[in-house]
């Protein structure tokens, strides 16, 4: 009884220490990446290449998802609003939901699943096949050559993807509300224009997506760089990227919203 209790406490302690160690190692890697950012910015071709891999290749899944999310918002929103006789406000509901919350959050979750896992797997395999060691032996820093450009690409891509998500989502909502249900087109757009505030809604959404971009890309990079050089190690690291990114995005979304919203 006593020994099993002791082993449970030891396991909790071990996991806690492991967690703190990982946080510290992640923080140190983040610092190194910041140190190498200047060097990366001077080589824009590397960043453009990574923006293509992380951003452009994620476009399809982001845009298709956005259209469906917008259509669902249109349907659900109309269903509720018509009970109160304000179905013209459907444009406002769709736009605010997307710009404030769903745009940054769903984009970040899809980004973690599509681009984050790709980054982790690629870097993990580069480590497993000694490509990063080879770089070090050529007096080239893997942090500067491999990680920093990917970090910048992730941080640049995320707000653009979130903006596109919101835009296509609004079109999805319009498609359901106006041609299918018959809400007045003028009311849809004019109420949206009148109610969506640039500073309060759009800028706050962009701030969220930049923060999510930093967090999701950093988690993907760290998990790949820290992955044990085995097939199992890379596979676990890829899973951790999705799990940690999703939890971090949802948790941070609450914290950021709490700071941004005026109650």
């Amino acid at each position: 009884m006593f020994s099993s209790l002791k082993s449970v406490i030891a396991k909790i302690g071990h996991n806690f220490i492991e967690g703190v160690w990982h946080l510290g190692a992640g923080g140190r890697l983040f610092f190194y990446i910041l140190v190498y950012l200047g060097e990366s910015i001077r080589r824009p071709s590397l960043i453009v290449r990574e923006i293509y891999a992380t951003g452009v290749l994620s476009l399809l899944i982001i845009l298709v998802s956005a259209f469906f999310v917008g259509m669902v918002l249109g349907l659900q929103g109309y269903n509720t609003l018509q009970k109160y006789g304000s179905s013209e406000a459907i444009g406002v509901l769709v736009a605010l939901s997307l710009v404030r919350e769903l745009g940054p959050v769903v984009t970040a979750l899809l980004f973690a699943g599509r681009a984050g896992t790709a980054i982790t797997a690629e870097i993990g395999l580069m480590r497993a096949t000694e490509q990063l060691s080879a770089m070090e032996m050529m007096a080239v820093s893997p942090v500067g050559r491999v990680l920093a450009p990917r970090f910048l690409a992730g941080v640049i891509s995320m707000p653009i993807l979130a903006a596109l998500f919101s835009m296509i989502g609004v079109l999805g909502g319009y498609f359901v509300a106006v041609p299918l249900i018959g809400v007045d087109s003028g009311a849809f757009w004019s109420q949206m224009q009148a109610s969506v505030d640039f500073r309060e809604d759009i800028v706050n959404g962009v701030i969220k997506s930049v923060v999510f971009g930093i967090v999701c890309t950093m988690i993907a990079l760290f998990e790949g760089y820290d992955a044990p050089p085995t097939a199992e190690g890379v596979s676990r690291a890829t899973t951790r990227t999705v799990v940690y990114s999703s939890l971090a995005v949802l948790g941070l979304d609450f914290i950021l919203t709490a700071f941004m919203i005026k109650v």
Partner: protein, 265 residues
């Protein structure tokens, strides 16, 4: 200038309290091809990583061109590494770059040469390893032997003073093995470099190296020219050179008495 470009003095290294090397001494004279041989897990590759500064010794030192490797800062270490080229066991080619771009990688990273000159250098190195015609291929399109030769071209792209080879013959067919042996010797002599070859392939290695160190259980157990070692009557060297299953290196992993264990059921 010392005659030895690399010197290992009283080097000890280990992981988690277990010592892998216990006071190793080796020297690598300029212009020579030196082999480090030993069984699997004897720490041969770790020695290369210690020379390259990717690991720090517990005790002792590695000197490269007179500089103590583990005392160098980041800049100093990178300056030392610019004098080195390393061929990894499976090539470690960058899989997202073509053969041409792999060989051009260190040139692009460390020089500001115009593209036309980079092309000349890359083609020169690829020609030296016989793969000029494969410059457009991707690493996934190469056989093991070809990948090793491309990695060799990349390792010597900047004409290093020291070339390190980690198991260059692993998994190669006899023809590729002969080609790689020949290339190591030819490149070393053409560049006036020093080559350190980590391997356990006795016959191929003895045919082209100048000097051999045998490592076992963390220490250098024998050293000499290939001719001296062929004639050696040291039990370890004899077992290794003739590929005998049992001897000073036991066939069985330490275990309790077999008969007793079977009787216990």
């Amino acid at each position: 200038m010392s005659d030895n470009i690399v010197e290992i003095n009283n080097l000890s290294f280990g992981y988690k309290g277990r010592l892998l090397h216990k006071g190793i001494n080796m020297s690598f004279p300029r212009g020579k091809v030196v082999a480090i041989m030993g069984g699997s897990g004897s720490g041969k590759t770790t020695l290369l990583r210690l020379i390259g500064g990717q690991l720090k010794p517990v005790k002792g030192e590695v000197k490269v061109d007179g500089a103590v490797v583990h005392e160098q800062g980041r800049e100093g270490l990178f300056n030392l590494r610019r004098k080195m080229g390393m061929l990894f066991q499976f090539g470690a080619l960058f899989t997202d770059l073509s053969v041409y771009e792999n060989v051009a990688f260190p040139i692009r990273e460390h020089t500001d040469l115009p593209e036309s000159m980079i092309r000349d250098f890359v083609m020169l190195k690829l020609n030296a390893v016989g793969l000029r015609g494969a410059h457009n291929l991707m690493p996934t399109e190469l056989s093991g032997g070809m990948a090793r030769r491309v990695a060799l071209a990349r390792a010597v792209a900047l004409d290093p003073q020291i070339i390190m080879y980690d198991e260059p013959f692993a998994g190669l067919d006899p023809i590729s093995m002969g080609v790689v042996c020949n290339l190591i010797r030819r490149l070393n002599d053409a560049l006036g470099a020093t080559s350190i070859v980590v391997t356990h392939d006795v016959h191929e290695t003895f045919s082209f190296v100048d000097y051999v160190y045998f490592v076992s259980q963390g220490v250098v157990v024998a050293e000499g020219t290939p001719d001296e070692l062929r004639k050696s009557d040291m039990p370890f060297v004899h077992q290794f050179v003739h590929g005998e299953a049992d001897g000073p290196v036991p066939f069985h992993y330490p275990a309790s008495d077999y008969k007793l264990e079977m009787l216990r059921g």
